[in-house]
C-alpha cells in the first residue's frame, strides 16, 4: 500500500481528520436527525475541515491565501451540491 509522504510526515493530523469525518458520518446516519439538522451536520463537517486545513498548512509552513481559497472552494463545492440534492 502506497502511503503518500505528506501522510507519513504528519500521520496524527490525518488520523484526527479521518476520525472527525467518521464521527460526522455516524452522527449524520444514526442520530435520527431532521433534514435541516442533517444539512447543519454537513456544514459543521465543512467548517471542521477548513480549520483542520489552517492548522495543517500553518504547521507545514506553507499557509497562503491561495491555499485558503482552494479549501474554501472545495468546501463550498461539497456543501452546495449536497444542499442542492435534497433541498
Amino acid at each position: 500500500m502506497i502511503i503518500p509522504p505528506e501522510v507519513k510526515k504528519k500521520p496524527f493530523e490525518y488520523i484526527f481528520l479521518a476520525l472527525f469525518f467518521i464521527i460526522g458520518i455516524c452522527f449524520y446516519l444514526f442520530a435520527g436527525l431532521s433534514s435541516s439538522n442533517r444539512r447543519f451536520v454537513v456544514i459543521i463537517l465543512g467548517a471542521g475541515y477548513f480549520f483542520w486545513s489552517l492548522y495543517h498548512h500553518y504547521h507545514r509552513g506553507d499557509l497562503s491565501l491561495s491555499i485558503i481559497v482552494e479549501y474554501l472552494v472545495f468546501i463550498l463545492f461539497g456543501i452546495v451540491l449536497f444542499s442542492g440534492t435534497f433541498f
Partner: protein, 303 residues
C-alpha cells in the same frame, strides 16, 4: 485533442502542475453550472409540472402489509383495514394538494382529527403519519421506522384499525405522491371491551364514560395519518424525476472531481513534484464523505 484531455485531467508543466479541473476558478464554474441546472429544473417543475414528475410504485396494500409485518415482528395485533379511515386519509392528501401545504395541520387550521371526524369515524385514539417523494414502499417504511415518533404510531398497541391514502398531485410545483397513514381505535371497540370487563369482573369498579373521555383527550393530542382506498391510485409514469435528476448530477460531479484528484495526486507523487496546493488526500476524504452522505440519504420526506 489529446492535449485537451491531458490539460484538464493531468498535472503538466503547461498547466502549472495542477489539473485544470482542480483549479479554483474551474470549480467555481462547476458550482455555477450546478446551481444553474438546479434552478432550471425547479423552474421547469413550476411552469410545466407535467414534464418533470414522480413515478411512485407505492400501493395502499403494500403499506398496510408492511405496517402489519412490523407489528407482527413485535408480537402486536394486526391492524384491520378501515374504509372510513382510508377516506379521511385520502381527503387529507387531497387537501394538502388543493391548499398547497405539507403539514399535519392545514394553514386554515384543519387538524387530522377534523378529517377523521368528517367521515363519521368515532375514535378513542388516532394517529397520523405523512410521507412524500418516495419511490417505493420499502424505503417509505424504512424512513418511518427510523423516526421514533412515526415508529411509535406504527407499533402503537392502542390502535386497532388503519387506513391509507396514496394520492398523486402537484405540490410546490413538483408532481409528487403523498402517502397518508391514519390509525384509529373505534370508540365502540373500547366501549364493548369495557363492558366485557364489567360483565366478567362484577366486583371491580370500572367507569366507562371516564375512560372514553380520557381516551378522547389523549387522541386529540396525538398525530393522525390519512386513509385511502386500497387500490393503487397512481400508475402515471413520468419521464424524469427532478429529485433523482439533481442527485445524479451531484454524484457525477463528485465522482469526476474525486477521480481527477486521485490522478493528480498519483502523477505528482510519481514525478516527485513540489507545489503549493492544498492536500489532495484531505480533499478526497472530504468529498468522499459528502458523496457517501448523498448516496445513503433517502430521497423522500416524512412528517
Amino acid at each position: 485533442m489529446k492535449y485537451f484531455w491531458k490539460h484538464w485531467f493531468l498535472p503538466l508543466e503547461k498547466n502549472n502542475h495542477r489539473s485544470a479541473l482542480l483549479r479554483t476558478n474551474t470549480l467555481l464554474i462547476l458550482i455555477a453550472f450546478y446551481l444553474f441546472n438546479h434552478s432550471l429544473i425547479k423552474f421547469i417543475s413550476v411552469i410545466k409540472p407535467g414534464i418533470l414528475g414522480y413515478s411512485s410504485e407505492i400501493t395502499v396494500q403494500k403499506v398496510i402489509d408492511q405496517t402489519n409485518q412490523k407489528r407482527q415482528e413485535l408480537g402486536l395485533t394486526l391492524l384491520k383495514y378501515n374504509s372510513l379511515l382510508s377516506e379521511s386519509a385520502t381527503k387529507k392528501a387531497q387537501d394538502m394538494f388543493a391548499n398547497n401545504y405539507w403539514a399535519h395541520t392545514s394553514p386554515k387550521g384543519t387538524t387530522p382529527w377534523d378529517f377523521i371526524k368528517s367521515v363519521n369515524y368515532k375514535y378513542s385514539a388516532a394517529g397520523e403519519n405523512l410521507a412524500r417523494d418516495f419511490y417505493d414502499t420499502d424505503s417509505l417504511m424504512k424512513a418511518w421506522m427510523n423516526s421514533p415518533t412515526h415508529r411509535d404510531n406504527i407499533v402503537n398497541s392502542k390502535y386497532q384499525e388503519i387506513g391509507i391514502g396514496v394520492v398523486n398531485g402537484v405540490l410546490g410545483g413538483i408532481k409528487t405522491t403523498l402517502v397518508v397513514q391514519h390509525f384509529g381505535t373505534p370508540l365502540v371497540a373500547i366501549a364493548s371491551d369495557t363492558k366485557k370487563v364489567i360483565n366478567s369482573n362484577q366486583n371491580e369498579e370500572v367507569t366507562l364514560p371516564d375512560e372514553v373521555i380520557k381516551s378522547d383527550i389523549l387522541n386529540n393530542e396525538g398525530v393522525i395519518s390519512l386513509p385511502q382506498t386500497p387500490e393503487v391510485l397512481s400508475q402515471e409514469k413520468n419521464l424524469i424525476n427532478p429529485l433523482l435528476l439533481n442527485k445524479i448530477i451531484s454524484i457525477t460531479l463528485f465522482i469526476l472531481i474525486i477521480t481527477v484528484l486521485f490522478i493528480d495526486g498519483f502523477v505528482t507523487l510519481k514525478n516527485n513534484h513540489l507545489r503549493l496546493t492544498g492536500s489532495n488526500i484531505g480533499h478526497i476524504g472530504f468529498l468522499l464523505v459528502i458523496l457517501l452522505l448523498i448516496i445513503t440519504s433517502q430521497q423522500g420526506a416524512i412528517f
